[in-house]
Symmetry: C2
Subunit: 714 residues, 2 copies
């Protein structure tokens, strides 16, 4: 028996008792498969088949209903048709069971009625405090209990797999049977009526049997919960997610599949990154990574040696190391000398170390042991390439790798045995060791990259422990503006309103005031200081210039009074019929041509349905949509550091940093604005869009000017 | 016996006789392996072992030397140590053999002396008209003869593999032994002292046994020959190349490996594209593609159906189709109705067609046959996804696919059997059929993409048949300028020289004349028309403004005279000591602010050591190096069409096309300049660099102005 896991779902991995509703002696029925799997898995708890027609199932006395079971029932597995499931749930509630795994399909994934049934199930579960896995799932497999209808049992190991698709789970089980990979848990989550991926990640992070968590997901149920919880798991063990529905067509297919509303792919990437999740891009990728995290020694550096018995694969591997951003060991001269002294004259002792085609296992050993004399930060490990040449003894090389690994337990050793038929024996030898084996160099190196990336995840402060520094500003003033906009039932703020918000937020923008009469125009223009720009204020007028609603370079109070009348008249005549002409805004004119440097950037916020607000930074100006030089980050726990990282992802950043002898731009002030915007949308979730384009950035110390800003609220 | 192949290297695939220099009865020796392979391969020609110490080898009478063989010898395989190879070559020359395969290593790949030996071999071969494969290679395997020291014989099939790395070849042979893939030829080309990849591509294109040619290359020996010859092969059959040494470190490793000088990767991509070669990016990629080209029906369209028994993999596949730029079939309404009528209610009949988890083989058949009722351009074929669920019979599904394929021979059917242990039987069933099988959706779809891409290659006019339209211009004038520059032993042209060249070439640039006295300055300025710009002309002065060498807005002849003196004095004082002040150039001032639209682009030419001149197009201006919005194309057989395609690869193109109500830019004239530049460098290969930045492009019909141009020659 395993120790009790301190997690709300801990009981799921090893319940004291299991009832199977729909248990059957009839081969081919789901209720048969489930019973058979429970028995075959050597489950040591109490088993209660529920079947109104049979007195016994699989030799266990059967009961007509869950409520008839004379003992406590901790977990119930449901295999009866969809129309009976609500009834079963009511019985489970009456019996006070802790959890229900609903294998049955036919709910929200097929129809409106199904969705309705699923809602009833959710309501009963909530009321009775029952945790529900499924419906529409394959079940749950743990080291102690196989409560699924899968036809294969995984070999025991330390990989947990959670899948939104039952079929993906069967495919993985089938694949695992051929490749010496062991699993701790398999959970198929189906429609996620209650238990979702976050609950399971949290559970499996607490499971001592699990070292690595793989997920196949089509959607994430609750972005906020994900961001709150998942980093707790990723700071303990690697969590790797293959998220499908990344394309438009794929998202549509996913929506019809489990009724999932897929979020935008960029935001998923960001959310996974921030939570410390490693994202797999293909199925191969997922399994390649599983292998390295399951087996390999954690690398203590990012520079590796390549030991090869052939030049060609060495070059392929060298390309892959560089293309994956990993380093190749530059051997210390004394070490390279030792390699030269101990290897044949034809060998290449520079990295990649080519020990040439006739290399026996001992020569691999020599090369590896000399390489590992170098410091671990110079040589964190080795990729050992083996091609089947006439003198090669792949099985002996594999055994040698295990020996060397034992002697150098801190160095990561990854084997790449290229070929097929000669490489099955090495595969068996290396299974279960700390030396993972690959068939080709590229997937091996891709996986090494992720192993190194996970080190960074472990070293970083996890998201759930991060604190967003509070920026204080005049929140009341902002609230007041939003209130007045909402009172008028508008969604888009007028320029003087955005100006008021930015002023309150501590973001510089040209002084802007609203005038409602010629006299007021003259007064307010004088307050701002000349010259000023004057623009019509009207929610109905989008293109102000087109109807004579903008006048630049107004130079005196007297002129301002005249321009007021001119604008109001022009807009009344040329604007949309019945447009509400609120007045004229008076704006400070920024003389940006006088600045030492002047770059146009774009800052923005938009709101993702799943992951909340995202901060955008990029190259601005009228062509911003065409240059597409932008980067995004979630506003959740946003910091100046994240802002700076966003800048570095763009090409405009190089220009802001100062090229061709130009001064550096005022990057600090841009970062300041970005953090203030994030603070604003964290405080005011009703903001759906915010757009500053262009934000003119001047030379260091000279600030910026937000000349054109739009804010939209819900 | 195969028919004689009409190719200079035809004899290599089935020589009438083979002598093995270094043939041996000693197990473990290379000369033993080669003899053994020749015998095992059932070679039907004459075999002559050459061994001065044994009277017979493998039962064949042995000879002391090639010259001692009493009959004609067509091919000689050499396995003796490097120091004996030159002697052997001399004997081969005396014997007048046609070809020599030198397996022996120890030439240019190891040392200067080796390189010297290799040069001697080349000289003898050239003199005696002997074709040489190798040295430093594994040998040659054909359907009729295994003249290699590889330890495995490939299954007979129709894939030819050419490898610059012998070990890569052994790995592929080993891999092939496990996965039901057959090969026609295997050629290891080693150091390519004579026979290179282009010779072999040309030979294999003529080989009736070969349907597809795979290559592993670290370098290309002769770019010009490649561009001239390879498209002949690619218009006959697919040629797929994995080119390593793509990274900086990889290129360095390749250089130390076979002494290959790797060219820039971009130019390789372009050269492969232009020649109709498909480029594999990883080893997996190479083999995945080999499978589809070897087996599958050529797709007659680019829209495919997905038939799946599980939603999850269907979504993964949908993503992959979209991400690979392929189309998914939108079924004709009548077809979709038929799918609905014939599939269970829970099935998804939209593409992907999810025939759900309990699908027996017959349901796959139903879905496929209905899908194939749609027109072939709507549904060119199907990806069939099989996950191992309880009712699934993978082997039966595989057999059914073969049946359906027979009935619909024009539709491409690709199987994706997800899993491991349950999928070995289907793999055996589908081997050798026209239904290739993959384990995961992504590589299957990636391969389908290449199958579709090859259709476009076949449909296009192959490079060797393309004719570059001749643009006539005043070539003599250009020659005269270059001659005078060369006479002065300069490499960088002065502005009035580039202006003369562009004028001769028919490219507009601001009128520029050289003045060597104040008086001449006044006269030439008047000829050009005012205002003019005046700039110092001096090969030693790079930054003209910095030493007072530039004056703008010169408005009269009188002023021009004064400015001449002013510039000459300023540069004499502030320029580099001893700078040669040739004179002052007088340039027309372009009033580009008066133009309706004005975009800065960059055009350039640079010369790749391997592939010759490349034309560059991109976003110009002072930040061109930072925006990196550029595209390249080989100048070889350059056309306006290629120029337009180059434009479309950049972001600036959208802006040139006209956005935000702006007029379209004068794209035609940009294309005209690009073709003229290509013509120029084709005629004057001594040009190493040409840079126009910015080229100001105005609105359609208003042309452009090449305000700043640099030309460098060898």
């Amino acid at each position: 028996m395993m120790p009790q896991i301190d997690n709300p779902l801990g009981f799921l991995l090893n319940p004291k008792s299991v009832a199977v509703v729909g248990a059957s002696n009839g081969v081919g029925k789901v209720g048969y498969s489930v019973m058979n799997n429970i028995v075959q898995s050597g489950y040591s708890g109490r088993v209660f088949p529920i079947n109104p027609k049979s007195p016994e199932v699989f030799g266990f006395p059967a009961f007509k209903s869950v409520v008839d079971v004379p003992e406590d029932v901790e977990l119930v597995v449901v295999c009866v048709p969809a129309r009976f499931v609500v009834g079963t749930m009511k019985q489970c509630a009456e019996k006070k069971v802790r959890g229900v795994v609903i294998i049955t399909a036919g709910f929200k994934e097929v129809s409106e009625e199904g969705a309705e049934l699923e809602k009833q199930i959710q309501a009963i579960a909530k009321e009775a405090n029952i945790r529900v896995v499924g419906p529409n799932c394959l079940g749950v497999i743990t080291p102690f209990l196989n409560a699924s209808f899968a036809s294969r049992h995984p070999k025991r190991g330390h990989i947990a797999m959670v899948s939104q698709s039952g079929a993906m789970m069967t495919a993985v089980l089938d694949w695992a049977a051929t490749c010496n990979v062991g699993f701790s848990n398999f959970v198929s989550i189906g429609n996620k009526a209650d238990v979702d991926e976050v609950d399971l990640i949290d559970l499996l992070a607490d499971d001592p049997e699990t070292n690595i968590i793989l997920l196949y997901l089509e959607s994430v149920e609750d972005g906020e919960k994900f961001l709150k919880v998942v980093s707790k798991a990723t700071s303990k063990k690697p969590v790797i997610i293959l998220k499908s529905g990344t394309s438009n067509a794929g998202a549509a297919a996913a929506a019809s599949h489990t009724g999932a509303l897929a979020g935008s792919d960029t935001s998923f990437t960001l959310a996974f990154e921030r939570s410390g999740v490693i994202r797999a891009t293909t199925m191969n990728d997922l399994f390649d990574m599983a292998r390295i995290f399951d087996q390999a020694v954690v690398p203590k550096g990012e520079n590796f040696a390549i030991i090869t018995n052939a030049g060609g694969p060495g070059i392929v591997a060298t390309d892959a190391f560089e293309n994956n951003g990993l380093g190749l060991t530059h051997f210390t001269p004394s070490i390279e000398k030792e390699l030269i002294a101990n290897l044949p004259a034809e060998a290449a002792t520079h990295n990649p170390v080519d020990i040439i085609g006739d290399a026996p296992p001992a020569r691999y050993k020599t090369a590896l042991e000399i390489a590992f004399k170098d410091d671990i930060d110079v040589c964190a490990g080795a990729l050992v390439l083996v091609t089947p040449q006439s003198q090669t003894e792949p099985a002996e090389v594999a055994r040698m790798l295990v020996d060397v690994q034992e002697k150098y337990p801190e160095r990561m050793i990854v084997g790449c045995f290229m070929g097929g038929i000669s490489m099955t024996e090495p595969a068996e030898i290396l299974a279960g060791t700390t030396v993972p084996m690959y068939q080709f160099p590229e997937p091996a190196i891709n996986s090494i990259k992720y192993a190194c990336a996970y080190n960074k995840i472990k070293a970083a402060v996890p998201l759930h422990e991060q604190v967003m520094p509070t920026i204080s500003y005049d929140k009341e003033a902002v609230t007041a503006v939003f209130d007045s906009v909402k009172a008028e039932d508008r969604k888009i703020l007028l320029a003087y309103e955005t100006a008021a918000i930015f002023t309150a937020l501590g973001v510089d923008c040209p002084g802007t005031k609203l005038a409602k009469s010629p006299k007021e125009a003259g007064e307010k223009a004088a307050e701002i200081g000349f010259p000023v720009v004057m623009k019509i204020v009207s929610p109905e007028i989008m293109h102000k210039s087109d109807c004579g609603g903008v006048v630049l370079f107004v130079k005196s109070a007297e002129q301002a009074e005249g321009v007021y009348t001119q604008i109001m008249e022009a807009c009344a005549e040329r604007g949309p019929k019945g447009a509400n002409l609120v007045g004229v805004e008076i704006q400070e004119m920024v003389d940006f041509k006088a600045k030492a440097k002047n770059s146009e950037i774009i800052l923005g916020i938009n709101k993702d349905a799943q992951w909340g607000h995202m901060v955008m930074f990029g190259q601005g100006g009228i062509y911003a949509n065409y240059t597409e030089d932008v980067s995004f980050q979630l506003a959740h726990k946003y910091t100046a550091e994240l802002a700076r990282a966003q800048l570095k992802q763009t090409k405009i950043n190089t220009i802001l940093e100062g090229v061709r002898g130009e001064p550096r731009s005022d990057i600090d002030s841009v970062v300041d604005v970005m953090t203030r915007l994030a603070q604003l949308v964290n405080d005011f979730p009703e903001i759906t869009e915010l757009d500053m384009n262009p934000l003119l950035v001047f030379a260091e110390g000279e600030g910026y000017s937000a000349v054109d800003v739009k804010i939209t609220i819900e």
